[in-house]
Every structure is written in structure tokens, then in C-alpha cells.
């Protein structure tokens, strides 16, 4: 699509505003001035008695029925043609799926990347598919004059194009409950090159074939990707790491390179990292040579370095902070401030009880919000099945740190 000939949604809608407001203003001024003039001219102090008894005029009625009819038909026509511009998505538009839930937005791109903000490339039309996970929401971009309800069970869409880089407000426009006004985010319009770089930046969600193989062969049961020490050493940062190993009972220092990793897969007992039990079975014969290459490639790429999730960022992105304040103020749910370790009055299965807000309680409240509901609050928190265990831990840690 040639950006120079692309009519943006704003360019399609604003002239209709100007036309209707302009015509309305003329009418309003006409009515007001006429009314005021009559009131002044024929005020009882100037006109003690009425000077006319005329009470009907068929020609006047025809004129002031006919002219407004023509005017409103013109408004109807411009309104309709402007609206069509909102419905006809330009060819080659980038498709993004907006998922709305009480009370946050999530945007998913064709390559699987997800983001709590809607990143777009300047000059490139974007078609947004609208999906609701619960009630009706509204996808509203004031700067682009675009709005469409996000209705459960319906496939609605909207499109827009940003012509200038910048940050634009994105609101939920259709009332969706307690956290409605907190359900806001932004459109981030970036120059195309910058956007492409952002879009292709690797995130943990992108599956490397080596990653799949690690899962398939059960490697991750003992070797974590996030630095956690399990039965075996973590894969996090393993490439090029200096390790002290025991080779036939003798300590030596090696560098985890391709040869070392290959040997560890095929002959795990050959060099055992100090401090770990020599329990790993050999995968010789179970794993193909090409697969070993992919696993090593994955470990080398650094993608295995799944960073520890940032609880603060998650709390914001998942919409937790829409309901749970950090400053002690009362929101839809209890504040996080000084929550950790405090005694909390909750209701479980209709029975009141007191619990301590420890790790287990917080973990349960994130996984099963309805299990124990703090007294005085509504049992309306949704579940977040997409959260991984380490993300829940990060959230718990974040809440613990909110003093």
C-alpha cells in the first residue's frame, strides 16, 4: 500500500465532524439570534399588545420541513461514507489480535509475540482483531477516531494507521466493571525499522527447536533454564561457563564448549560438575546427531538464558495493579502495601477465618482467587491460567517486597 495515498481513519472522520458541527452552529446561531431578537423587540414593555394574530403559514412549514430534511440527508450520506472508511481495511495491513479481559489488554502478533502495549510501525496500516475473554469491552483510540466493542463470541475488528511516531492513548470504552477506568494502555508507533527490530527480538515464548528437544527428552526436569538449581546444573548461561568437574575422581576446570556438551549428553558420567550427583543416564542411541547439534545451538544462542521474571512488571502488565494499589489506598481488591506477613480476615466457603499472608496464601490467591476472599471485598478476581510457576513466584516475591 502506498502510504502517500492512504486515507487515515482520522482524515476520513474529521471532515464529517466539521460539516455537521458547522451546519449545526449556523442553525443554532440562527435560532438563538431570532429568538433573542423577538424577545427584545416584542417584549411587553415595547409591545403591550400582540400586533399579529397569524398562527399558521403553510409555505413556512413546507420550507422549514424541506430544508432540514435535505440537510440531514446530506449529513446521513457523509456520515455513512466516512464510516465505510473505518470498515475497509487497506490491503497488506498488519494483523494483530487484541485480547481484552477484566481489566487488561494483551496484543498478539503473527509471529506469536505478545505485548501489553500495541506496538505498530509508522505508515503501516494495522488491522486489530478483537477478542474478549469475559464481558464486553471497547477498543478505543481517540487519536485515530477508532472505536469498536470487544464482544465475547464475536469477531469484531478495527483498523488504523499511525502517520507519526509517538505514544497514543488506548482506552477501554465499554463499561466492564470495577477496574474499567484502569483498563488503559497505549499504542506505540515506531519507525518501521525500529518496529521490525522490536517485533523480531527474541522472547522466551518463541520456541527454538533445541528448546523443544530439551523438553521432549525431559532434560528440563533436572536442568532449569532460569538459573534454578535442580538435580543438575542449570542451563542458564551454560555456554562458555567455566566449571569445576570431576573426571574419574580428579577435579579439573573445563569450559563448557561444544565438545564438552556433546560428551555430557552421550557420556554423562565422564565429567560430572562438582556438587552434583552422578545420576544422569546416557542419551547415546536415543538422541540423533542432528538433534544434539540443535540442542547445542540452542544453548549457545543464549536463548536458554530465560531471565527471571520481573514481578513488578508482571503486576503491571497483568493488570494486578488496576485493583491492588501499592500505596495503601483501597481499590477493588486489598492493597499490596504491607500485605506480606499481615494477618488477613478472609472468607472460605462462606466461613470467616484469619490467615497469615505468607507465600502459600499469596500463591493460592493468585492461582485460585475465589478460594479465600478477603472480607469486605467482592469475589471477582479472575484466574490467570497463563502464568507460569516462576511468574507466580516472582509476583509473590514482588508483593513481599511492597512495604
Amino acid at each position: 500500500m502506498d502510504a502517500a495515498h492512504l486515507i487515515t481513519t482520522t482524515e476520513a472522520i474529521d471532515p464529517v465532524f466539521m460539516f455537521i458541527f458547522g451546519a449545526s452552529l449556523v442553525l443554532l446561531i440562527g435560532i438563538t439570534v431570532t429568538m433573542m431578537a423577538f424577545v427584545v423587540r416584542y417584549h411587553r414593555s415595547r409591545a403591550p399588545e400582540p400586533t399579529s394574530k397569524v398562527s399558521a403559514n403553510i409555505w413556512l412549514e413546507i420550507v422549514w420541513t424541506g430544508l432540514p430534511t435535505l440537510l440531514v440527508l446530506a449529513m446521513f450520506y457523509y456520515g455513512w461514507s466516512g464510516y465505510l472508511a473505518l470498515r475497509h481495511v487497506p490491503k497488506g495491513a498488519m494483523e494483530v489480535t487484541a485480547t481484552a479481559r477484566q481489566w487488561s489488554w494483551s496484543f498478539t502478533y503473527a509471529n506469536g509475540k505478545t505485548s501489553p502495549k500495541l506496538y505498530v510501525a509508522v505508515g503501516k496500516p494495522v488491522k486489530v482483531e478483537l477478542v474478549s475473554l469475559d464481558v464486553i469491552h471497547g477498543f478505543y483510540l481517540p487519536a485515530f477516531r477508532v472505536k469498536r466493542d470487544v464482544v465475547p463470541g464475536m469477531k469484531n475488528y478495527a483498523w488504523f494507521v499511525a502517520t507519526k511516531p509517538g505514544s497514543y492513548d488506548l482506552f477501554c470504552s465499554s463499561y466492564c466493571g470495577t477496574g474499567h477506568s484502569a483498563m488503559i494502555t497505549t499504542v506505540e508507533a515506531l519507525p518501521e525499522a525500529e518496529f521490525d527490530a522490536w517485533l523480531n527480538r527474541k522472547t522466551e515464548k518463541e520456541e527454538h527447536p533445541g528448546h523443544e528437544l530439551l523438553e521432549k527428552h525431559g532434560c528440563l526436569g533436572c536442568h532449569s533454564l532460569d538459573g534454578t538449581i535442580k538435580v543438575g546444573p542449570s542451563f542458564k548461561g551454560v555456554w562458555g561457563r567455566k566449571e569445576t568437574v570431576l573426571t574419574n575422581g580428579a577435579e579439573r576446570t573445563i569450559t563448557a564448549d561444544e565438545a564438552y556438551l556433546r560428551r555430557s549428553i552421550l557420556e554423562p558420567q565422564a565429567d560430572v560438575v562438582k556438587g552434583f550427583p552422578p545420576v544422569m543416564p546416557s542419551f547415546a542411541g536415543q538422541i540423533k546427531e542432528a538433534e544434539i547439534g540443535q540442542i547445542i545451538d540452542f544453548l549457545r544462542s543464549g536463548a536458554a538464558e530465560r531471565p527471571k521474571p520481573d514481578g513488578g512488571r508482571l503486576a503491571k502488565e497483568k493488570g494486578c495493579l488496576a485493583c491492588h494499589s501499592l500505596d495503601g489506598s483501597r481499590g477493588v481488591g486489598p492493597t499490596f502495601k504491607r500485605l506480606y506477613g499481615s494477618r488477613v480476615q478472609v472468607t472460605q466457603n462462606g466461613k470467616p477465618m484469619t490467615v497469615t499472608a505468607d507465600d502459600a496464601y499469596l500463591r493460592e490467591s493468585i492461582r485460585m482467587p475465589a478460594a479465600k476472599v478477603v472480607q469486605g471485598f467482592q469475589p471477582i478476581m479472575p484466574t490467570f491460567p497463563e502464568l507460569k510457576d516462576d511468574e507466580v513466584e516472582a509476583l509473590v516475591e514482588f508483593i513481599e517486597g511492597t512495604k
Binding site: 476520513a12 472522520i13 465532524f17 458541527f21 449545526s24 442553525l27 435560532i31 438563538t32 431570532t34 429568538m35 423577538f38 416584542y42 417584549h43 411587553r44 409591545a47 400582540p50 399579529s52 394574530k53 397569524v54 398562527s55 399558521a56 403559514n57 412549514e61 422549514w64 420541513t65 432540514p68 430534511t69 440531514v72 440527508l73 449529513m75 456520515g79 466516512g82 464510516y83 470498515r87 464481558v135 464486553i136 478505543y140 481517540p142 477508532v146 472505536k147 469498536r148 466493542d149 464482544v151 463470541g153 464475536m154 492513548d169 482506552f171 477501554c172 465499554s174 463499561y175 466492564c176 466493571g177 470495577t178 474499567h180 477506568s181 484502569a182 488503559i184 489506598s329 481499590g331 477493588v332
Partner: protein, 542 residues
Amino acid sequence: MSSAEQAQPCTEGGFWRDTGRTGITSWIFSTDHKRIGLLYFYSTFGFFLVGVMLGLLIRLDLMTPASTLMGPQTYNALFTVHGVVMIFLFIIPGMPGAFGNLVMPIQIGARDVAFPRLNLFSWWLYIIGAGIILTSLFTGNGPPDTGWTFYVPFSARTSTNVSLAVLGVFTIGFSSILTGLNFITTIHRLRAEGMTWGRLPLFTWSLYATAWIQLLATPVLGITLALILAERLLGTGLFDPTRGGDPIMYQHLFWIYSHPAVYIMILPGMGVVSDIIPVFARKPIFGYKMIAFSSLAIAAAGSLVWGHHMFTSGMSDTAILVFSFLTFIVAIPSAIKVFNWVSTLYKGSISLEAPMLFALSFILLFSIGGLTGLILGAAATDIHVHDTDFVVGHFHYVMFGGAGFAFIAAMHYWLPKFYGRRYAEKPAIVGWALMFVGFNVLYFSMMVLGLKGMPRRYYHYLPEFAPLNLVATIGSWILALGLIIMLVNLFRGLFRGEPAGDNPWGGATLEWSIPTPPATENFEQEPVVTHGPYDFTRTGEP
């Protein structure tokens, strides 16, 4: 007919005295249309004042972007209850119930409405429904938080007291249906001799058009609300897409009633203005037939435009095309009325007393409300301002600046007739001026905010919207101050003011031809009407 000097101008004479019962039962079991009218007046106007308080609290919360005056749950309940109270407990029942009952039977030369006991029953249904709604605020999981529109799926899921509130509105719906039935029958069957359709006062004409909407559209509301109850209590899944239901179908059902209901709210107000303007210009209304006809046209065409509340919902583009077109068609009869009102002033002898000031400001505010409605009727522009403060500003111009100002005009115009005493003029004008200024500061700011993109029903908002929200809140205080001055003056006057006389304004409709306050059955003998409602050469005679 007795002159002002001879009448007993106090609330001891006329229908105030003639009753077999005493005390409160002489009111709540009375079948006299004037007593029932005053019951409606006190109850609906009482709820109006409650709605005003809630509205002021909403504005107070919105004074700053992140107010901590209340929690979000409280705020959401506030705007829900504000809407439910103002719409279902004040505007819809208010004008037909209070002034329709007080004035309409007298205007057509009747002793009462066609079914006086049914009339009383309607009021009782209203009070029972109002009681249920009030109960819903203080019981269960707290007041409803869905907005007055009760949109599914949210209204089917929220744990707040939606079921009880819906049941209350359901009950009030029957009150409205029965009032409509009663008024249609009354206007058809009980007109005095000589009161031809062409001599019917325009207020009565507007009530007639309104009554048809009440009778025909309200059952749809009843069905819709019953379906919400079924959804909540039985889990029928009618509006749940995972079980074959459709949340958009709910919106259609809701607006099939609730858009015509907008005309239930505004049509009687137009009737009040059509009656007041000729009296204070001492000139027959211009285009009587066109005004009467346009009321019927609005009632008919207004029943076919509900879809313009749903342009963003995802309904088909064909539906949007049709509903947008019909919406523009319904604008025409409203424009005809405005042009005829203004023309009535031409070469008249205009007196700017309080009822006239409220009526003239009605024309201006209603025009702004109507013209901004064109923005909402056009598909392209509606998309941007739908669900923003623009819509909130627009419908307050129509509902408050229109129906509300007409109600206050009616209070100043007709209440002295029924209380026998009148208010002081100067404070009434001060009250009017403050209300007019405050109103525009408040709601015009909101319309600008909506154009800038501020969504409605927002508890907190972005700092870019702060200055105009502060202005709007200040406007709400000016409006409230004007309202207080207006009310204190009016009620002090009604109970302790100067005698009103039989015909303080020089009106030519029948209510001004009988003693003040009117007797229980209005007329000593059935009048024979000999002239039109705006023939000011023959005021005082039937």
C-alpha cells in the same frame, strides 16, 4: 366564574378539603387525579433530588484525575444508581404522573381520568417498585454496579444486587403501562362537549403521543428485564455466547424500549413548552397542527431508531445504514417544533416571567441537545464519541436541559394553580439564571471532554482531561446553588406566598377557567368548549 379576590387562595379549599378521609390515608388512598398528581409530584421530585445528590458526588470524584474520595466500586454504584433513579424514578413517571395527572383531565373538561382506581394502583406500583430499588441499595452484596443499561454479560456475572434492582424497575414498568392506558382512554372518551381534537391543548396532545409509547414499548422492557433475571437466577444462557446466546441481542431488546423511552421523557416537556410560550407571548401558538402532528411523528418514528445506540457493537453495517438513516428522519419533527415555537414569539407581547424563562431556555438547551444528536446519528462521527463524555453531555442537554427544565417550568406555571399561592418572581429569576449558567458550564465542558476522547464511566482519568473536569465540577456547584434558590423560593411561595388567583398568567386552556384551587371534581357542571386552547381574546370562559 369567581375572580381572584373572591377565591380562597390557600391549601384548605377545593380538592384540598373535599375528601371523606383524613390524614395520610386521604392521600395515599385517594382516587382524585389531583391528589394522585401531587403524590407523584412529591415522590418523583423527591427522587430527582436524590439523583441530584448522587450526580454531585460523581462530579466531586471527577474533580481531580485520581481522587481518593471513594473507591471504584462506590463510584460505579453511584453512576448506576444516579441513572436508575433519574430515569426510572424521576423523568419517565414524573411528567405524566405529576403534571399529566394534575392538569390533563381539567384541560379536556373531565372530572377525572377514565379509571381513577387504576390510576391510584399505578402510583402504588411505582412506590412499590421504588421501594424494591431502594432495598437493593442496602442489602445483599451492595448496590448494582452495571450502569443503568444493565448490559450483559457483565450484569449476569456481577455479584452486586442487580436482580433486586431489575425487579424494581420491572414493577415500575407496569405503572407506566397502566398510566399510558388510562390516559389514552381518558383523552378518547372523556373530552367535554366542544373539545374537539383540534382544540386539544398541546400539552394533552403530547401526553397522548407519550401514552402510546408507554403502552406499546414498556412491555419490551419488562421482557428484557425478566430475561436478565432468568439469566442471573436460572442461568438460562440466553445472552451467553458459549451457550448459543447473544449479548448483542440483549442490547437490541433493551434499546427497543429505552430509545422510545427517551421520547416518553421529552415529549411531555415539549407539550409544556407549547402551552407556556403562547400564554406569555399572548399569541396563539404558531403551527398548532404541525406541533401536534410532529408529536405523533416522533412517537412513531422514534420507535424505529434504537440501533443508533449500537453503532460500535459489531452489528452489521446494513443495520447501521438503516438505523443511521431513520435517526436523521426523526430529527425533522423536532426541528419543526423548534421553528414553530420561535415563530410564535413574532409580533407577540412577551412577558419574561419564570415559566417563560425556563421554557425559552428549554428551546435553546434542547436545540443544542438535538444538534449534538446529529453527530451521534451520523455513523462516522458516532464511532469517535460513542461511550465518551460527549454522549453524557448530549443526553443531559436533552434530558435535563430539555425534560428537566420543562418540568421546572411546569412547576412554576401550574403549581400555583393547585396550591392557590404563588412564589416571588425575583428569586425565581435568580435561580433560573444560576441554573442556566451552571448547566452550560457543566455539560458543555463534558461534551468537549468527550470530543477529546475521555471515556464515560471512568473513575480515574488521565491528567490531560483534568482542567475541563474541574470546570465541569464547578459548573455542577453553580447549578446546584441555582436549584436550591429556585426550590426554596418556590415552596415558600406555594405555602406562604401571595394568593395566585384563578388565572395568574392569562391562560386560555380550561384549567384557568375554574376556581383556584380546583374543586374535587373540577367543574361544577360539565363545560361546553367554544374556543381553541390559545384564543386569548376569550380567557376565563370555557
